[in-house]
Symmetry: C2
Subunit: 258 residues, 2 copies
């Protein structure tokens, strides 16, 4: 790796052939030395899963041009771990994930492989961010999202990020001229209401598909959902200290004793 240019690790959860990944590489390729390590198949909804009970493959892929591209048989988090331990042998200067096909705002941050890959980067002490476009389709227009991703990457490379924090960046599905700007937000307290789709297979056994409705009862104007609904790019700082510090005094008053 070139010592003078920043090293940028790029991954995603939609897999190595996803247009959003190629858009992200395209957006940052002149900012540094790019290394891509991405799952060899779609890994949406994998959250912070790691591969403990199966072996992992990591293979160079020669079909995507000038940069170093690797595909990995594991999860997005595995990709980040393997990239650092087996390819870079050092921390990259920036770890970015995406551009995800579909939103990772609000509670989706918890289920998202895209965001978990960026969170793994942050746990490793690397300035990290995940990017998502609010359009699930394979032929989505990433032109606006690329401008956003490039700007955020430049900001992080210039200013860094507070310790223990990464960015969750969601981008409305709008032409760049219609985006109203970026807004630093908190995660909206929304959730999914499950509605499993129940079916019967040809052997007459029941099976299910996970589906649901997104329900947002958090009307705060400081949330990512509000920003996205009003034409702003949402930027949520995310932490991996999950401690509910505010609950500690309350619990100390209860009888947690043997």
């Amino acid at each position: 790796m070139n010592k003078e240019r920043p090293v940028i690790l790029v991954t995603n959860d939609d897999g190595i052939t996803a247009p959003g990944l190629h858009a992200l590489v395209d957006a940052v390729k002149d900012l540094g030395q790019v290394l891509v390590v991405a799952p060899d198949s779609p890994q949406s909804g994998m959250g912070h899963a790691i591969t403990l009970n199966h072996l992992l493959r990591l293979d160079k892929v020669d079909v995507y041009g000038e940069h170093d591209w690797y595909q990995c048989s594991g999860t997005p988090v595995d990709c980040v771990k393997l990239a650092i331990d087996k390819l870079l042998h050092r921390k990259p200067d920036l770890c970015i994930s995406g551009i995800n096909h579909g939103s990772n705002s609000s509670i989706n941050v918890i289920y998202s492989g895209t965001m978990s890959a960026a969170m793994e980067g942050a746990i490793e002490g690397i300035p990290s961010a995940g990017f998502s476009l609010l359009n699930h389709s394979l032929d989505a227009d990433f032109s606006g999202a690329k401008v956003v991703a490039r700007k955020v990457a430049m900001n992080i490379l210039e200013y860094g990020l507070p310790s223990g924090c990464l960015l969750n960046v969601n981008i409305p599905d709008l032409p760049i001229a219609q985006l109203k700007g970026m807004k630093i937000c908190r995660q909206a307290m929304a959730k999914w209401k499950e509605e499993f789709d129940e079916r019967v297979d040809p052997m007459r056994r029941k099976y299910y598909w996970l589906t649901g409705k997104f329900i947002n009862n958090d009307k705060g104007e400081d949330t990512d959902e509000w920003a996205l609904g009003n034409g702003f790019v949402s930027v949520v700082p995310v932490q991996f200290d999950f401690t509910a510090h505010h609950a500690i005094p309350y619990l100390n008053e209860q009888r947690y004793e043997l």
Copy 2:
């Protein structure tokens, strides 16, 4: 379900045959009406993964005696979602996960299927907790952990939990008489240092196993690691608002604009 007794949903990530799951059911079975929905195979390290690209099976298992036991082909989080939407058709009064074979303290909370199942319960608004014993072996002695799990479950049923928070309970591998008590803690800021084990298969292709070393540079005496190292059961309140609220003013001073 009996309307007078609390409904207790029990799950885990080690799978439906794991001794720790049976120990947890045994610990709480007289506190309410127990429903078990657990993965049909080990799901350690699955984090908050959900199954989006595969169908899900959910089958009643008749071999475990008096309670309702179901096995699910999906992740621990899928188990909680399916239990609520397809079996209970209501929120249970308590959602508990474990007893995990091995620690889920500190950063392990992020990778843990056990803790993610409990977190999914909390997202659904159910008082929830995950339990882990610091012993990986299948023939571990769960007698002390059972006393702890029962006490915590009774506490939660009696006092509830602060909104938006669940409990991460880790139990030293000691006889009950040697446990010094329970300690409400914060998550230690420790991490794993990866050391992938590189091998070559009979076709001469490389593959990897994920291994690593746990490194704790957080010497705080208010952490779960300190508590566990000093003979206490650690009880960490965990939240699913991942926003790094302290970082918002800092980011607002930087140029996050288009």
